[in-house]
Every structure is written in structure tokens, then in C-alpha cells.
Symmetry: C2
């Protein structure tokens, strides 16, 4: 059986990668990768749907055992992408969608270079500002910080296989669907060649 | 402006690559590459639409001047893919569709490695036999020869970027459209990397 594709949807904060993933999952038959975290569940968050919730000790043990594609600490809490559920789905021929920030994506690429790495580009920094503000709940200082971080993150684009501009959601989702379809049509030996080139680059 | 893509649709004789190209041109905005030949026009064939018709002397001069991506002799007549119209369209940002046999495709890849090389796979050799017979006008010996040649040509698959199975025409055309769309979304630096890998392989 043909193995599934690990499709990594990534990009700066506020580019709408989460929305793309949600829409994508309505249109393609794929499994969403669920993160593991040490932070407490927020109201409405469900175990195994939004996150796998765990404690610090178990998280660290999982990390030491090489159980994550990547993990990071954000505001004092640990977040990681568990390998096992993804590898299991891929082996069964299912595509796995992974939404992740740029730093995480680079770690995933080290661990799984044969993944398909898609960078979601905001139409412009002005639009990005509008989106982050619309999402609300953040001070002007924090918004400015996010924006300058996003600007810096645009340089990551070159590290990805594909770049999709999220100006119109439906179009961006169709772009990602075309990428997934095309990747399945790649000749296996040349896919490996690409990966080899990708790995040398690190 | 972003350069257009040279999309090479290739594969063994009888796989339906011509039909795919014709359908494709109804669905995508692209220029069809027209071959140059020394053979006489058949009834209904139009200059610049089916072929550029020329004489042997001019053909050879064009070949010596490096004016072809590839050229070959078939049954005593010369056929070639002229570079200039394709390069001109590509520079204007237009995609160019080139239908060509497997040997020709390999020459085009030498001359233009940044092309997108798609191998059209017949659903099966039985189906291929049916198609070649249906096309008619050939002796059983010639059909057998074509089939054994096609079987040998299947090994070329590994030299291509993508493989599209032509079981259902509409599906195959949509596959090629997805490939073209995805190729336009590729991050430029990684496209070059792939090409570099591709070139080393020759």
C-alpha cells in the first residue's frame, strides 16, 4: 500500500493556517495530528480532540523516549507533536494534516523530511494586522510584537516546499488540495531524490 | 513576472497522451508546443497548428543552430521541438504543454531540466492493446511490436517527476491540472533544488 503523506501546514501566527486546516479536513480524507500539552484544558476543550493533555513528568518521559516529531515550551507549558498516531495513520495509507508554527515545522522536517511542507502566506502585513486585531484579546504592544515576529518569520518561506497565499480561504484550501493530489502522483524515486536534496540543505 | 511552466506530457505510444493534451487545453490557459517536421502535410493538417512544415535543409540548419529542445528521425522524416516559441511563451508567464514520446522527453529534460515531466501510464497492457487496435490501420505484427516497445518504455516512468494513470480521461486531466497548480505554488528555491537533483541523475 502507498504510504500516506504528512502534510505540514505552517506559517506565521495569524495567517489563518488553522482555518485552512479545518476547511481542508471537510474536503479531504485525512487525519488531523493532535498535539500533546502540559497546559490545563480550557473550557470546551476535549482530550484527544483538541489536545492530548498530560502532566510534565509524562511529557518529559515521552520526549526522552523520542516520542515527538518536535516539542517546545511556550509560556511555561510544554507542547509536542506525538509521532506514534501520525506514523500509524501514514502506514495505513492515510494522509496526516499537521498545523504548526514555523520553528516546529523545521524540527518536523528534520525528523520526517519526506513530509510536504506548506507555508501559508498572509496576503500582506496590513491584512495580517487586521486579522490579529480581529481575533482580539491582545494588547497593542503584544500585537506589535506578533507582527514584527511574523515579518521575521516570512524568511522561513524559503525552507518550505510550497507557499500558499491565504487571501481567499476557498482558493487557499483548493491550492492545498491540488498540492496533496499532485504529491500523490509523484514518481516515488524522484520524491526520495527531492528529500535527499532537502536534507542536505539543513 | 513568474515564468511559465514547460509541462511535458509523455509516455508510451497508445497511452492517450494526445487526448489528455487536447482536453487539458480546454481547461487550462496554456500554449501547445507545435513540432517542426520535414514530412509532407496530410490532408487537413495546417501549418503552425498541427506542425511547422519545412524542408530537410532548413530543418538541419535549425538543428545545427541549437534551435530544438530535441529532434529525431522517424521513418526517414525529421521531427523536432522548436525552442523559440516555447521560450517566448514561458518568458511571458504562459505555461507550455508539450506532448512527446519517452525518448524525446529525456532529451527535453537535458535541455530544459526545470520542466515538469509527466509520464502517462496506460491502465494495463491489455487496455493499451485494445486502444492501439481500436485506433486501427496497423497489422497484428506492428501492434505486437508497439506493445513490446510500450512495455519496455514503462521503465522510463522512474525518470519522470509525476505519473498519471489514464484510466478515466477526466480524472487524468484533473490530475495534470492539480500538478500544474501545485507546481506554480512551489517555493522557487526548492524548485531549483529539485532540478539540481534531477540533473545529477542523468
Amino acid at each position: 500500500m502507498e504510504k500516506g503523506l504528512l502534510v505540514v501546514i505552517s506559517g506565521p501566527s495569524g495567517t489563518g493556517k488553522g482555518t485552512i486546516c479545518r476547511e481542508l479536513l471537510k474536503r479531504v480524507d485525512a487525519t488531523l495530528s493532535i498535539s500533546m500539552t502540559t497546559r490545563a484544558p480550557r473550557p470546551g476543550e476535549k482530550e484527544g480532540r483538541h489536545y492530548y493533555f498530560t502532566d510534565r513528568e509524562r511529557f518529559e518521559a515521552h520526549a526522552r523516549a523520542g516520542g515527538f516529531f518536535e516539542h517546545a515550551e511556550v509560556y511555561g507549558e510544554r507542547y509536542g507533536t506525538p509521532k506514534e498516531p501520525a506514523l500509524e495513520a501514514l502506514a495505513k495509507g492515510r494522509d496526516v494534516i499537521l498545523e504548526i508554527d514555523t520553528q516546529g515545522a523545521m524540527q518536523v522536517r528534520e525528523a520526517y523530511p519526506e513530509g510536504v511542507f506548506i507555508f501559508v502566506v498572509p496576503p500582506s502585513l496590513a491584512e495580517l494586522k487586521r486579522r490579529i486585531e480581529k481575533r482580539g484579546g491582545e494588547s497593542p504592544e503584544k500585537i506589535a510584537l506578533r507582527l514584527s515576529k511574523a515579518e521575521g518569520e516570512m524568511a522561513y518561506r524559503e525552507k518550505y516546499d510550497y507557499a500558499v497565499v491565504n487571501d481567499k480561504l476557498a482558493r487557499a484550501v483548493d491550492d492545498v488540495r491540488a498540492i496533496i493530489r499532485a504529491e500523490h502522483l509523484k514518481v516515488e524515486s524522484n520524491r526520495r531524490k527531492k528529500d535527499a536534496a532537502g536534507t542536505v540543505d539543513h
